[in-house]
């Protein structure tokens, strides 16, 4: 166990505020990351030296008020935006060293995405939507759809393979999006407000599935959320405000420790 882990309180579900500490076991490591938009008078500094760590085997929630920079931080970690300054390491890869096309390849192989509005392709069936990352990687269509169907079955959608998104409820659509995020076995899953479009019960069910299917000791999950009802699912909660991580809470060290053993 690393120094950082030793300092974490073993009390499950009892939040403890922690200072930032880097770890070589981090799935994501951000050091003094800044992000500016615009130039001159329109210049806006959205991330103001973010230090942030995400560990394997954990579900980390990124919370904070609107406009505090959560989604921008998530975009920078996922390689969808370039940081203006600072250092970002994802799964041991220094993101600054990747060219544009290498960044795309890295995302394709290592990242899974769950979006607030699901962003499913309306003309594709549930199984085809879930298979998109495999299709993008060049897997033959039949094999990709079969593989995606297996993941959908794990998520309780075994009877809805052929349904179009318009024929699915919000919760079912988010489960398809979850299957799409998991189908290619990525090591980092990033979720943006995965429950904000869902009612409490459905949101809870989706988070349960996310926890069950995605949280493994070789994988890390980051969830940006406003929804305090899902805080119970977190192993760690990073609070952001005004472009900085202001506080980190550890909620379930026991689960984390168990998963690593």
């Amino acid at each position: 166990m690393t120094q950082a882990f030793a300092e974490i309180s073993p009390r499950s579900r009892n939040p403890v505020s922690l200072p930032y500490e880097a770890s070589y076991e981090s799935a994501v490591s951000c050091k003094q990351v800044t992000k500016e938009f615009g130039t001159g008078d329109n210049r806006a500094l959205v991330l103001r030296g973010v230090d942030f760590d995400v560990r394997f085997g954990e579900m980390t929630l990124l919370v904070g008020p609107s406009g505090c920079g959560k989604t921008t931080l998530l975009s920078v970690i996922a390689g969808l935006l370039d940081a203006t300054a600072g250092h970002i390491s994802v799964l041991g890869q220094n993101m600054d060293e990747l060219s544009g096309s290498e960044s795309v390849m890295f995302r394709r192989k290592n990242l899974g995405f769950v979006f607030q509005q699901y962003n499913l392709l309306p003309a594709l069936t549930a199984a085809e939507n879930a298979a998109v990352p495999l299709l993008a990687a060049g897997v033959p269509r039949k094999r990709a759809v079969d593989q995606a169907s297996a993941v959908l079955s794990d998520l309780g959608l075994e009877h809805r393979f052929r349904a179009l998104p318009s024929q699915l409820s919000g919760g079912q659509q988010q489960r398809v999006a979850l299957a799409r995020a998991l189908v290619h076995e990525p090591r980092l899953i990033v979720c943006d407000e995965p429950t904000s479009a869902l009612d409490h019960e459905t949101g809870h069910a989706v988070m349960e599935l996310l926890t069950k299917a995605a949280v493994r000791n070789d994988r890390a999950v980051i969830v940006v959320t406003h929804d305090s009802r899902v805080f119970d699912f977190a192993d760690r909660i990073a609070h952001m405000d005004d472009g900085r991580i202001v506080r980190t809470e550890v909620l379930d060290e026991a689960r984390f420790t168990a998963s690593r053993n």
């Binding site: 989604t71 921008t72 998530l74 975009s75 996922a78 969808l80 935006l81 096309s101 795309v104 390849m105 995302r107 394709r108 192989k109 990242l111 995405f113 979006f115 607030q116 509005q117 962003n119 392709l121 309306p122 003309a123 594709l124 085809e128 998109v132 990352p133 299709l135 993008a136 990687a137 269509r141 799409r180 943006d192 407000e193 904000s196 940006v224």
Partner: protein, 379 residues
């Protein structure tokens, strides 16, 4: 990902059909108007192309096109015959007498007079009767258009008579002519008979038809005729194209057809481009999601081009099918004969449609290429 691209396109039925409709009608207008234009231009050469026997046309040096000729002298015919390398040369007369049926129905017609001895230049596409019948007194061969005008609703029958400039003419044959530019009936008679029908002038020889001797090329024979006689000699093809270019340069036909074709091109491009762009905008988040997931810009460009190509191929097929169906359905209408969809026009329209769909997709491609994949994180 090709499958995903096509499903995205087919999934939005309204826009998909709108795109197909735009490309199909653009294709139809372009190919239809181009075919009509080509047909009209071909009609200007119909009497040239209807003479299969002779390779060379000899005419006055200042002749610009077939329908406006300055008569040659009889000596010119003999001079052409005397050119080394010319196997034979015969006279051809072209005039426009007025024909009148027994019921008083009259019309100006095109009268072609062919060589009395050989009948070189006479039509070959006979419906009834024989070219040899032209050797009979007062004999004329008449095309179907003329027959059906002067003898409406009557079965084809030989021996019927007409007046040609107050001269009696007996129909000894009916043939299928290529449609002439002015859509006038075309009659054939012997040269000596034809000049009687039209009336005597000092010179009446319109053209000399000639054939190069074996081993002598048409180009060489033409050069020799021009050098020996001072007249102009051209192959059938050269003379036909000279006539076509006359109409292109001296009439408003190409400009008016060009405007229609240009409008079809512009409207097709704009409507297809706009619809395609709206389609792309509405799928922007989906494209953003694909980019986030790891689909490269090259692959997305390929997907959009595939969608455009699909629309182009289907729209072109429908449009060109409509054009072909139009000409197929009108081919037996005498006044519309000669208008066909040439393969060159189909190929040219296909290339233009390809350009339309590529242009239409370029704006969409640009929009997607500059799209930040982080857009997917905006609610």
């Amino acid at each position: 990902m090709n499958f995903v691209a096509l499903q995205m396109l087919l999934g939005d039925r309204a826009k998909y059909l709108g795109l197909i409709f735009a490309v199909a009608f653009s294709t139809f207008l372009m190919s239809h108007q181009s075919s009509i234009f080509a047909g009209i231009m071909r009609r200007t050469t119909s009497q040239i192309m209807d003479v299969p026997d002779a390779n060379l046309w000899v005419m006055d040096r200042k002749t610009q096109y077939f329908d406006e000729v300055k008569a040659l002298t009889d000596d010119d015919l003999y001079r052409v015959r005397g050119v080394p390398g010319i196997e034979w040369a015969v006279p051809l007369f072209k005039g426009q007498p007025r024909a009148k049926a027994l019921d008083g129905n009259f019309r100006v017609v095109i009268m072609m007079g062919v060589d009395d001895a050989t009948l070189v230049g006479a039509p070959r596409n006979m419906v009834l009767g024989s070219v040899d019948n032209l050797r009979q007194p007062d004999a004329v061969i008449i095309d179907r258009v003329g027959y059906e005008f002067f003898f409406p609703n009557q079965a084809y029958e030989l021996g019927k008579t007409l007046e040609l400039n107050d001269h009696r003419a007996t129909i000894v044959g009916i043939y299928n002519s290529s449609a002439p530019f002015q859509n006038l009936p075309v009659f054939y008679s012997r040269y000596s008979q034809a000049i009687n029908f039209v009336g005597r002038e000092r010179n009446l020889l319109s053209f000399v038809l000639a054939k190069a001797a074996p081993g002598i090329s048409d180009a060489e024979a033409s050069r020799r005729i021009e050098a020996a006689t001072g007249l102009r000699a051209a192959t059938s093809s050269q003379f036909a194209w000279q006539t076509i270019w006359y109409y292109i340069h001296h009439t408003g036909i190409p400009i008016n057809f060009g405007i229609t074709i240009g409008i079809a091109l512009i409207v097709g491009t704009i409507v297809a481009g706009q619809t395609f762009y709206i389609f792309t905008l509405e799928n922007l988040k989906q494209f953003g999601a694909l980019k986030a997931i790891g689909v490269t810009n090259w692959r997305i460009t390929g997907m959009i081009l595939l969608q455009a190509l699909m629309v182009g191929v289907i729209g072109f097929s429908i449009g060109i099918g409509m054009t072909a169906a139009f000409f197929e359905s009108t081919k037996n209408i005498l006044d519309l004969r000669g208008f066909t969809l040439l393969w060159q026009i189909a190929a040219g329209t296909g290339a233009t449609v390809l350009m339309i769909v590529i242009l239409a997709s370029l704006v969409s491609i640009r929009r997607v290429l500059v799209l930040e994949p982080a857009i997917v994180f905006r609610g």
